[in-house]
């Protein structure tokens, strides 16, 4: 079983567009959405949710008001603005509490405790292209990396159970915690970028991250025809950094149209972008 992840560094480069089309082209596949705080893959693959499970990770401070003497030690120690005093009583901010437990340990009258924190929900679903694991982090919550790891682990188990050969993971933008959780241990990463200085700058950092985690890197320049010279420059630099070119993708209004239709662009007849992604799939397939 192999795992291919799509990332980008810069957001809005077309990761999800590409990954959804690969999902439609691959034969024996499990799909996973690693972008848990702004997931979009479901808009193209239209999963039917079969199982929902709460995502519990970390803790939140909870106050037993009957014990509290209002000394204010907790608010004084908290480094995250997680507790403030109002009328000599501590008020816990669920939004800011990191669940570190310092206040619990240091409360002189044991008025504070830690409760499990629910940070989101994850789903096992059926799509027309194969089973899908995806999730939803509650707005503003931490632990997105842990939720991504959980999504990948569940997708792997599902693939093993159902004898699927490939897992396709749609990653989040950036290079931080959820991206690290997306790429670690993957067999192949496809970095989708765009022909702009920002796209190139972010691609460079994404490739550095992949090298750091020893994940074989491929890249594709989306909307390359908007600025062919820029795309050529990106290709030269990415190849010099050891990444392999999977093929470029042309600008195509069918990409947005396919979002409205809720289907991968590769299924739109005569779509230039769809044809380019098909060629990319043929290249990557040989590697897998």
């Amino acid at each position: 079983m192999k795992e291919l992840v799509a990332i980008s560094g810069k957001g809005g480069c077309g990761k999800t567009t590409v990954l959804a089309s690969l999902a439609a082209l691959a034969e024996s596949v499990v799909l996973a959405d690693g972008d848990v705080d702004a997931p979009d893959l479901h808009l193209l693959l239209r999963p039917e949710i079969q199982q929902r499970t709460p995502f519990v990770a970390g803790f939140r401070a909870a106050l037993d008001a009957s014990r509290c003497t209002g000394c204010g030690r907790c608010a004084e120690l908290c480094r995250f603005e997680g507790i403030r005093m109002a009328d000599s009583r501590p008020v816990i901010s669920e939004l800011h509490c990191e669940g570190c437990g310092l206040c619990v340990d240091q409360c002189p009258v044991q008025a504070l405790s830690l409760a499990d924190a629910t940070c989101g929900e994850w789903y096992c679903s059926a799509t027309a292209y194969g089973p899908m694991v995806h999730a939803r982090l509650q707005p503003g919550r931490p632990n997105s990396g842990k939720l991504v790891s959980l999504v990948r682990k569940e997708a792997r188990e599902l693939a093993e159970r159902e004898g699927k050969e490939l897992i396709l993971v749609d990653g989040p933008p950036g290079i931080g915690c959820p991206v690290i959780a997306t790429v670690g241990g993957a067999d192949l990463a496809l970095v989708v970028t765009e022909p702009s200085p920002s796209g190139q700058h972010d691609l460079r950092r994404a490739l550095e991250l992949l090298r750091h985690f020893r994940v074989p890197a491929w890249f594709s320049v989306n909307r390359a025809d908007l600025y062919p010279e820029g795309a050529a420059g990106i290709r030269a630099e990415a190849e010099s950094l050891g990444a392999r070119w999977a093929g470029d993708i042309r600008y195509d209004s069918a990409v947005t149209a396919s979002q409205y239709e809720g289907r991968p662009v590769v299924l739109c007849p005569d779509s230039p972008a769809g044809n380019d992604i098909r060629a990319i799939w043929h290249t990557l397939q040989k590697e897998l």
Binding site: F80, I180, L226
Partner: protein
């Protein structure tokens, strides 16, 4: 009067940086001094659009525990206190896993021997540059570092005392978005008028509303009046701050490393209009 406007979006590539830089340039054109803080520390790009190099850099650090082995008796209280598993005690020796550390201080207080102190560990850079009356500050997270929020907080410490500050936020709806927008006077959400764009806008607006901040929306890449997108905003009680048309010239200008505010006809005027509306609303 000190004012802080945060520019954010759920979906990446919606045009946050183009709008944040455009607003900063529109302020500069009024002769006002402005601070532009790039809080997208995983992938900061304001300097690319402003065409400046960030020459003034200093390392950004986060505190991590250091154990004085002469005082430590290996009791394990620190590892027990750490809920992030960044400390472990093996054969009476403390091992520190700095990348898991949240710098909460729990181990410090837990150690009965007073053997733990905090030392700074580099997580990235804070960089600064001046361009006309704009002071640009950004954070650049080191590759391989997981936690963006501590660096975002360090960039935010450079918020101006008296002038207008524009914050360019990270994409997404998680803790980094809150670190980048918390305490702002107004949050401007930039959304593509597409199904992906509107879906992620709804998620981002939920996150920002948790902070209790006033919010409005710029619809980007609108075809025609974007009536469906406007209806979407109305249903969710999200005020519209402006519509920017779908314009291939903006994409091409950004692709060439240009500044759409200066180079694409009509775009500068649209930014000046947006700025006027924002200033009027927050007054």
């Amino acid at each position: 009067m000190k004012r802080t406007f945060a520019v954010a979006s759920g979906k990446g590539g919606a045009g946050k940086t183009t709008v944040a830089v455009g607003l900063a340039l529109a302020l500069a054109d009024r002769g006002q001094s402005v601070r532009l803080l790039d809080c997208d520390v995983e992938e900061p790009n304001c300097h690319v659009q402003l065409g400046v190099s960030l020459t003034a850099t200093e390392p950004a650090t986060a505190p991590v525990p250091e154990v004085d082995t002469a005082c430590c008796d290996g009791c394990g209280a620190c590892a027990q206190a750490c809920r992030f598993h960044s400390l472990a005690v093996v054969r009476k020796q403390v091992l520190v896993f700095p990348q898991l550390c949240h710098a909460c201080g729990a181990c410090l207080y837990a150690c009965p021997q007073g053997a733990i102190r905090e030392v700074p560990r580099r997580i990235g850079l804070v960089r600064q540059a001046e361009a006309e009356s704009i002071t640009l500050v950004d954070g650049l997270l080191d590759v391989g570092e997981a936690m963006a929020s501590p660096l975002i907080r360090q960039v935010r410490q450079r918020e101006a005392g008296t002038e207008v500050t524009i914050l360019d936020g990270p994409p997404g709806t998680s803790c980094s978005l809150l670190a980048a927008t918390g305490g702002a006077d107004h949050v401007l959400l930039v959304a593509e008028a597409t199904p992906f764009g509107l879906h992620d806008l709804a998620l981002a607006s939920e996150a920002v509303r948790l902070l209790g901040l006033p919010v409005s929306v710029v619809l980007n890449r609108c075809r025609g009046t974007a009536a469906d997108a406007q209806a979407f905003l109305a249903e969710r009680d999200l005020p519209l701050a402006g519509c920017l048309p779908e314009d291939r010239r903006v994409a091409e200008c950004a692709a060439r490393g240009g500044t759409p505010y200066r180079e694409v006809p009509g775009f500068g005027a649209a930014m000046r209009d947006l700025l006027a509306r924002l200033l009027g609303e927050a007054a």
